[in-house]
């Protein structure tokens, strides 16, 4: 009796479950995605901390015996110039995050509008844009990135631009495909019958419906960009010394792998764990935002 009365006394509040709160609830239930998020938050914290404090100055040479292994003073050891690897790893996290996130923001800014426009207008616009996309797909990405870095000069901004030039097409294709299907939906016709302008239709109605897959793609694009930067730096056309990048640190380490394996192990593990975390988060987001997996 008492419980029945208590239940009845509860105000009946309709659940304001939007797509996003639903997705958030599902994401929290995904253990891998959750752990990854915690790790990535930690990484962001480390990168921010490195702006103001590192155990040692990352470019200071001769701090320790060169090639010396981990010790109490230098937790991850020292490199071929006797620089503190932990300090360099922390600064490297900045580079990786800036490259990863910066690249994807630019990819979003370029790929999404182009793709939406191509898919929504179809016809000649679509033919031209699809042609451009295919041309970019045809150029080997490492070659294009290296040429761009050579032309523009090897700064962090230019590396980001070079990576965007090789990575924007996937996002454009995704946005185009979304626009192609969404434009046939009745609410688009209804919107046009209500006199909505094309810009409003595209960014106010079609884009919000395509946001799920776009966010997933952007998240999964971050590790790809980080890896690409590491690869470019490994080849020597990435971030220039003395700024450390996990890629260039691994490169330096490989040359001494026989007697100082810690030099290659530290950046490699940082890179792998970060890539994995972004991928788990991306997968988690995909499951959370997929309407078919709604429970």
């Amino acid at each position: 009796m008492a419980t029945a009365a208590a239940v009845l006394a509860q105000p009946i509040e309709p659940e304001q479950a939007s797509l996003w709160s639903d997705a958030w609830r599902r994401l929290r239930r995904n253990r891998f995605a959750l752990i990854s998020s915690v790790y990535l938050a930690f990484l962001v914290g480390v990168a921010l901390l490195a702006l103001v404090w590192t155990p040692y100055r990352m470019s200071a040479i001769g701090l320790a015996q060169i090639y010396s292994g981990p010790s109490a003073a230098h937790l991850l050891g020292a490199d071929e110039l006797g620089r503190d690897i932990l300090s360099r790893l922390m600064v490297g996290a900045q580079v990786s995050l800036v490259v990863g996130v910066g690249t994807q923001l630019l990819v979003l800014a370029v790929g999404v509008p182009l793709g939406l426009i191509a898919g929504y207008y179809k016809g000649v616009v679509d033919t031209v844009l699809t042609f451009i996309i295919n041309v970019f797909y045809g150029i080997p990405d490492v070659l294009l990135a290296m040429i761009l870095v050579f032309i523009l000069g090897p700064s962090l901004t230019n590396i980001i631009i070079a990576i965007v030039a090789t990575r924007w097409m996937d996002m454009a294709r995704l946005a185009r495909g979304q626009a192609l299907t969404l434009r046939e939906r009745e609410f688009v016709e209804a919107g046009r019958a209500a006199g909505a302008r094309p810009g409003k239709m595209l960014f106010g109605h079609i884009l919000p419906n395509a946001l799920g897959p776009i966010i997933v793609q952007a998240t999964l694009g971050i590790p790809a960009a980080i890896l690409f930067e590491a690869f470019l730096s490994f080849l020597g056309v990435g971030v220039q010394p003395p700024t450390p990048s996990w890629g260039s640190m691994a490169n330096e380490g490989v040359q001494a792998i026989q007697y100082a394996p810690h030099m290659v192990i530290a950046p490699s593990i940082a890179l792998s764990v970060t890539l994995m975390a972004f991928n788990f988060l991306g997968d988690g987001l995909r499951d959370a935002l997929d309407p078919r997996s709604r429970r």
Binding site: A17, S18, F187, E189, G191, G195, R197, G204, L211
Partner: protein, 351 residues
Amino acid sequence: MASPILSVRNLRTQFKTDAGIVRAVDDVSFDLFPGESLGIVGESGSGKSITALSILRLVPEPGKIVSGDIRFRNDDLMKMSDEEIRDVRGKDIAMIFQDPQSSLNPVIKTGYQIDEAMLAHKNATPSQARARTIELLKKVRIPAPERRVKDFPHQLSGGMRQRAMIAMGLANSPSILIADEPTTALDVTVQAQILELLADLNHELGTAIIMITHNMGVVAGLCTRVIVMYAGQIVEQGPVDQIFEQPQHPYTWSLLRSIPRVDALRHERLRSIEGIAPDLLRPPSGCRFHPRCPFRIEKCFTDEPHLEEVKPDQVAACWVTMDRARAEMGADDLVDIRPGAGSGVHPGEMR
């Protein structure tokens, strides 16, 4: 009679496909008068929806309006720039669609979508729009509108969604509301409520309504005048009462006869119209209905009939007409399906 608010003349809308040209709307002319409610009936593929979309120049690809003249008041809609016609859409002529589930954007709050209808035409500031949205939702009888504006479409029932769509259609007080099968996706009790709402709004606000439907019952309940379309053409047109009592085109007659009735005798089979809807790529010669017409004569195979006055205010495109079919060919009388009309039992079948 007052001058028409909308007048369509010789409208032809065609779809170019790989198989050939589909003449979806083929020489259609009609008028709509202020405050009137006009029904356009026909089977799927008769061209009724494309006629409506043509009025707003929203024919989907690869369709194209090839010729015709569409006048709204004194403006030629066909000659307007894209910007001008966009301003007519939703402001002077609004349209509501069949499926309220998919006509609302699933990721945007319902209230904001109605606000937007006003904001698109710069008819209001955001706060004025919100106030009017709540007022409109009240008018279409949605309970607790202040709460409902914050709901996403999936949180509303089907009937409520269609009410929200109607509210959106009315947002800018249009002079014409085109309703394309607005009740088809709803269950029967909700259908009746929506129709009643549309009828009230028609009387109250004086909004002219074009009701596109395949359901003769809907026309009977709401409209004063009806246009019957078949294979992209108008085959009969006239006042609803007259058409229901004395349809002159055999197609109209067949449509009325095929409505299932609750009080039909149990052994009676459902009547359907024999044959299939015509292939609009290769429409039949002569009268397009002749392959399915029970009263065809030789002339129907070769000569195309044109709309002619068969009764005062009533036109039909038929060489025979039902008056003659009834007198000479033994066509049976119709049962009046209008609400409240007669007992509904065939006199000949009372036993």
